[in-house]
Subunit: 432 residues, 2 copies
């Protein structure tokens, strides 16, 4: 018995088929049972007529509850009234696993659904998101590899901080007191460009941020890249290229899933078809003042509200560059034409989805780096290995980090970033 | 000025070229300086003749130390005496980053090299390994995706243990006391096969193992897969397929790197060309007694020494199946023909590289699972979410975990697994 996926069976369209899956919906009378079966590919209506089976066998069918698993053999035919346009008239069936009362239903609240995440993964919405998520991961790998990048991994256990101590998670590492979970790969990536030149990674990063916004996770997947001999413009170009490639692949592969999510494709297409809007921080401030009538001071970081207002002015991503030095990380390079600013860039998504990429050209002046570490309250002695990258044949270089769940959120048009990852982790949520 | 990689320049073979990289070796007289330049692709000899430059400019060249970075323009030509068969007669050069006395040399000990891992990544050996590592990651992604698997990620922060409490790392997760770092994705993967059916991941896993062997890391990359509706044989087939695909790709892409590592390809080819040796644990015990004259009792797990003796009998991987229940994890399924054993399999690498894959068919009897959790000293109440997978439409399924660094170690023929990962982590080693 060769089982087809439901999609393959519908492609066959006639004749005898065997499929298997889970009960998505069921209804029936004492003469006939209708079971909508789902598998990873689609759903299909299966009709079990009493007249074809013994009393006992039909009782088995009659007892089928949502999420029971079964194998089915029968004749497939087109039927416009059926939910996916096809129907199987069942000749044989085997119940593989019965199901208790499945606890999930349409009207349940967020908390309950999150407590039962292991079950809500099976919903059509979550399955659609998981498929798009898989496409996004694949597209990022494909983009970097096809552009000559090596895949490279940095350690999760790190003895330094890169993005500020307040969001560090500590690990109980035997008797050691100074082992933290990676916030970024950066300090461990830069040493490797001297070997491989162009590198990228897809790995979890950790931020102990207490903020409970719909944009933050304590554990998220981070796509990071670093390139030797690059210019600041190169970094921006590779960021735009990666996002465009992701959009392209999702539109190619996941039309059905986008439909299930009711995502308006017109909202994502412009970022594929048009160049991203590039502007400096100073220009962004000017726009916010003039077009949005916002009272904002030069020198402060853009907050969520400002990023959102800015994103509403464009239908593509915005690449905002040359931020004031004070609001950015210690390793960013001073802008050659204005030492108050650094060659850092944020990619702000359309529709108020916030910052997806943060990148920069890296400072290579070892004295400036030390000074900024001291200003941060850090002991430069702990960063010897990092500073060494500037000591032995330093070269211009830069890189960025892309928050994969944020990109997935935007592509899918999600309300909450928690749905962009299978088991979300936030300050309050660490189970199941 | 368009810079070529050294490999591209050698392909061009004649005429003017511009390349850039780091000083790999240098020697000179007061008339000429020979600099062997390396980049991510290869090395090439550059000849800087005093007669072509001003006094000051030639002094710059004369001062060049190992690992200084520079850009070079000149005429390339074949020269059989040069280290990679080509030579550039330099017409212009720019020193980009000077280098202090580079601290690494050939005769340094393991400890010193590990303390300076951020620099030793640049050695030809480590660069070759990192390139093969990138190929291995890519090949695993490619294998699973081309066989219809979705890429799926489980959380690193977990509130359960799967592989025994003694090797758990605890995280300081706000005020929570029961948050651990993932040992495996398994308990979080099984719920997802009800949505996606065939899934895989590439992610870090953590084991707080105190053992200081050359096979153990506390942080390693884990390629895991899980498949709905699979048989035990399917799981073994997918394991063999994945390893064969990795070997195939490395042989296609990394001949040069294997040469640098002096890896005898004849040791890895048989596992590509021949089927893996499949045997039960009981048969393995018999072989060990008869062929290796070992005194070993049925019922005990195979130790390193037994796996090594066994691997010496074959030139391919061994798939050893149907281990005694007591030595394997709680979730493995009882063998239908012998309830003393479980449908678990270990893939033992050739040449004494140990276990690369551990897999199994999963038990679906919820009562048996609870009983075995209690035997392990666990509270089944903490595993409700996992046991739910057996309650709502359970299906036959199985999966495995592959230790990526162990596979890389074997492919590269390494002495120590620490060299299979950029920044190794062991009980004593967590810096840099």
């Amino acid at each position: 018995m060769k089982y087809l996926s439901i999609k393959e069976a519908m492609k066959k369209a006639t004749g005898k088929v065997s499929v298997r899956g889970w009960v998505y919906r069921e209804r029936g009378s004492n003469k006939v049972k209708f079971v909508v079966l789902r598998d990873a590919t689609d759903i299909i209506q299966c009709v079990i007529k009493k007249e074809k089976f013994s009393e006992d066998k039909f009782k088995e069918a009659d007892k089928l509850q949502i999420e029971a698993s079964l194998e089915v053999t029968g004749t497939i035919k087109e039927d416009k009234r059926a939910p996916s346009g096809f129907e199987i008239e069942v000749e044989e069936f085997t119940v593989v696993g019965m199901s208790d009362n499945f606890p999930l239903a349409a009207d349940q609240n967020r908390e309950f659904m999150d407590d039962n995440r292991h079950l809500s993964l099976r919903t059509r919405k979550m399955t659609a998101i998981l498929k798009i998520r898989s496409t996004v991961f694949g597209a990022l790998h494909e983009y970097f590899r096809s552009n000559g990048f090596y895949e490279y991994q940095s350690p999760i256990f790190q003895s330094v901080q890169c993005e500020g101590g307040s969001t560090l998670f500590r690990a109980e590492y035997f008797d050691k007191k100074d082992v933290f979970l990676a916030q970024t790969w950066q300090l461990y990536a830069e040493p490797a460009i001297f070997a491989l030149e162009k590198i990228y990674t897809m790995a979890p990063s950790f931020r102990a941020e207490k903020s409970k916004t719909s944009r933050h996770l304590t554990e998220y997947w981070h796509c990071e890249m670093e390139v030797a001999w690059s210019t600041f413009k190169d970094i921006q170009d590779v960021g735009e290229g990666a996002i465009k490639h992701v959009i392209k692949k999702v539109l190619e592969v996941n039309q059905e899933e986008l439909k299930i999510l009711e995502r308006d494709i017109k909202k994502i297409e412009p970022s594929l078809k048009k160049p991203f809007a590039r502007m400096t921080y100073t220009e962004a401030i000017k726009l916010l003042k003039e077009k949005c009538k916002m009272d904002i001071e030069w020198g402060k970081d853009l907050r969520t509200i400002e990023e959102d207002k800015l994103s509403a002015l464009f239908d593509t991503f915005i690449i905002c560059t040359n931020y004031p030095k004070e609001v950015k990380a210690f390793y960013m390079m001073e802008a050659p034409d204005d030492s108050r600013t650094v060659q850092g860039c944020d990619f702000i998504a359309p529709e108020g989805y916030g910052e997806i990429i943060g990148g920069s050209q890296r400072e290579h002046d070892i004295e400036k780096l030390k000074r900024r570490l001291v200003e941060m309250g850090e002991n430069p002695g702990n960063y010897t290995f990092y500073l060494d990258t500037r000591k032995y044949g330093s070269v211009p270089h830069g890189g960025y980090g892309l928050g994969v769940e944020r990109l997935i959120s935007w592509v899918c048009g999600l309300d909450n970033i928690k749905d962009a990852i299978p088991f979300p982790r936030t300050p309050m949520r660490y189970k199941p």
